[in-house]
């Protein structure tokens, strides 16, 4: 009896699981479809599921905004800012996880509270400082700010991974006379590599999708895809097929990246909340 009930549960699970999945992904699918439609087909009533596809929208989008240029900026900003943030965060997370003191907890909470500070509160001074330094619309400014914006979350994620490494292993290695660098190379890095890569994945996704700073401190030269699509939307608001082409082109790289790495990402997203 239990097995028939179990089987019924599994059927319900399957039906619900697929319905939910299809609904959630439908807007992206529909946008992808519109990208290959002519403008007439995209605005057709009733909506067209079948049509003769065209690549015209992508060609025209690339003429309007230099896609490759912005895509390269996106890759540079998300990659570099995440790498920088991990380089800064890993030593701190290591110390706080393995050598906790009385102040560790308040230090962690302080870092968290920095992330609570709204970006808009910092916008004006940051903008004026960047103008003063001649750094408006430069990649280095955007990389630095994205790194700082994500740093608290990255410290926190790394901290929760490092805490999962049993301190006894390191203690044993130290007893056996392993120096800090040896411990790092043969124990810490292998043990924490999955955690670090999950953290890097999340950092890159957040950086890729970061829009606020990008819209406000960059322009055509160093803008990422987030800026390109926002400015494209302002000028081409009525041309949905072209807009959809630009949209799908700007999410496609991170979407494919995310699909491929989702297992690591799923495993990583506990923020130390699971013990």
């Amino acid at each position: 009896m239990a097995t028939t009930q179990q089987r019924r549960h599994d059927t319900v699970r399957m039906i619900l699981g697929w319905i939910v999945g299809l609904i959630m992904a439908f807007p992206v699918f529909w946008m992808g479809l519109a990208a290959f439609k002519t403008e007439q087909d995209a605005a057709a009533i009733p909506p067209k599921l079948f049509f003769s596809p065209t690549l015209e929208n992508f060609v025209e989008m690339n003429e309007r905004v230099n896609y490759l240029h912005h895509a390269l900026n996106s890759i540079l900003v998300s990659g570099t800012s995440t790498a920088l943030a991990i380089l800064l965060a890993a030593p701190a997370a290591y110390v706080m996880a393995f050598y906790p003191t009385k102040r560790t907890r308040s230090l962690m909470l302080w870092m968290l509270s920095v992330r609570f500070m709204p970006a808009v509160g910092a916008l004006i001074p940051v903008y004026l400082i960047l103008v003063y330094l001649g750094l408006i619309d430069t990649l280095s400014a955007l990389i630095l700010i994205t790194c700082l914006a994500n740093l608290p979350l990255i410290v926190w994620m790394l901290f929760s991974y490092f805490k999962e490494v049993p301190a006894e292993i390191l203690e044993a290695a130290r007893m056996d006379g392993a120096r800090a660098l040896t411990q790092l190379r043969y124990l810490l890095i292998p043990l924490t590599a999955p955690g670090i890569s999950s953290t890097a994945l999340l950092g890159m996704i957040l950086a890729w999708n970061e829009t606020f700073w990008c819209i406000n401190i960059t322009a055509t030269k160093s803008g990422t895809l987030a800026l390109a699509i926002a400015s494209f939307a302002n000028s081409e608001g009525q041309f949905w097929a072209k807009l959809s082409a630009a949209s799908i082109a700007s999410v496609a790289p991170i979407l494919i990246f995310g699909w491929i790495t989702q297992r690591q990402l799923v495993r990583g997203l506990t923020f130390g909340a699971v013990k």
Partner: protein, 299 residues
């Protein structure tokens, strides 16, 4: 046995050596975060007392004039209310849906890995694009999919962004963030000891009771973490408004970030925008205060 050799006098020196060893590792991130937190804060405070419009430089000291203007702005209560609505409603929606979805995906079924990939897809879509898709392809009063659906059902199509702008924006935010909630809660659920559920089943607990008494208590911590993280992101909702309503109609969908944006970058009024920035920081700190207290129990 080794612990018997820990006299009280040694730690003082050991501790000072340890501090010597660890602070260089802590310093870089603490220093940059401190700069990042305090320099803009101090400058925002400074500008908030200036009468400074970029179109009419230079800045002159204006005392509390910006705060006076801000706090007597008839739009302000609505703006604060909008901000809170844009935080709390998506929070409730994403946590409820995320829990439900996690329950669904916490078990094998044919095609589960693919269905799970479909569910988390919105997480990778940047906010601008999410807003554009919904605005043009779904919410458009003439050519949108919703209007077509309503017309085929014989109903009058709705112009979402003029009659229900807040609902529309909340739908967009919730769609974009439900996958994040699902991911965190699913991971948490999969860490639950299966034997506990099995034991509850043996004791005759129905599936609803099992969920309520075994699974849900296990999810409290992850939900607390999730609520805090989402609050951080929802408090600064910006791109969704920028692309869809530009804060309108009137100020119906203006939240604090967008209010500052429209004052500072459209109105060039640095002083007023800074005062609003200080205001935003205060609101965020009030919210953060509660969450940081919750989180301090998690560390």
């Amino acid at each position: 046995m080794a612990s018997t050799t820990t006299p009280i006098t040694v730690p003082a020196r050991a501790r000072s050596r340890r501090v010597m060893k660890t602070w260089p590792l802590l310093l870089p991130s603490v220093a940059v975060l401190a700069l990042w937190a305090f320099v803009p804060l101090v400058l925002t405070l400074w500008y908030s007392f200036q009468n400074y419009n970029l179109q009419m430089p230079p800045a002159v000291f204006g005392g509390l004039i910006n705060y006076e203007y801000l706090l007597t702005d008839p739009d302000l209560p609505g703006v604060v209310f909008n901000t809170l609505i844009m935080v709390f409603v998506p929070l409730i929606v994403t946590v409820v849906l995320g829990t439900a979805f996690a329950v669904i995906y916490d078990g094998p079924f044919p095609g589960q890995p693919i269905a799970r990939i479909l569910v988390i897809t919105p997480f990778f879509v940047m906010p601008t694009v999410a807003a554009l898709v919904w605005k043009n392809l779904f919410f458009h009063p003439v050519w949108g999919l919703f209007s077509w659906l309503q017309q085929s059902l014989g109903m009058q199509p709705i112009d979402w962004f003029s009659s229900h702008p807040m609902t529309a924006i909340i739908i967009i935010i919730s769609w974009a963030w439900t996958p994040f909630a699902t991911l965190i809660l699913l991971t948490a659920m999969q860490s639950l000891d299966r034997e506990q559920i099995e034991a509850a089943r043996m004791d005759g607990a129905k599936s609803i009771a099992r969920f309520y008494y075994v699974v849900l208590p296990h999810l409290y911590r992850p939900i607390a973490v999730l609520v805090m993280l989402e609050t951080v992101f929802f408090l600064s909702t910006y791109a969704e408004i920028y692309v869809t309503t530009m804060g309108g109609p009137g100020s119906a969908t203006t939240n604090i970030p967008f209010y500052i944006y429209s004052r500072a970058l459209m109105g060039f009024d640095v002083g007023l925008a800074s005062a609003a920035g200080v205001f935003a920081i205060i609101i965020a700190n009030i919210v953060a205060f509660f969450f940081v207290r919750i989180m301090s129990e998690q560390i």
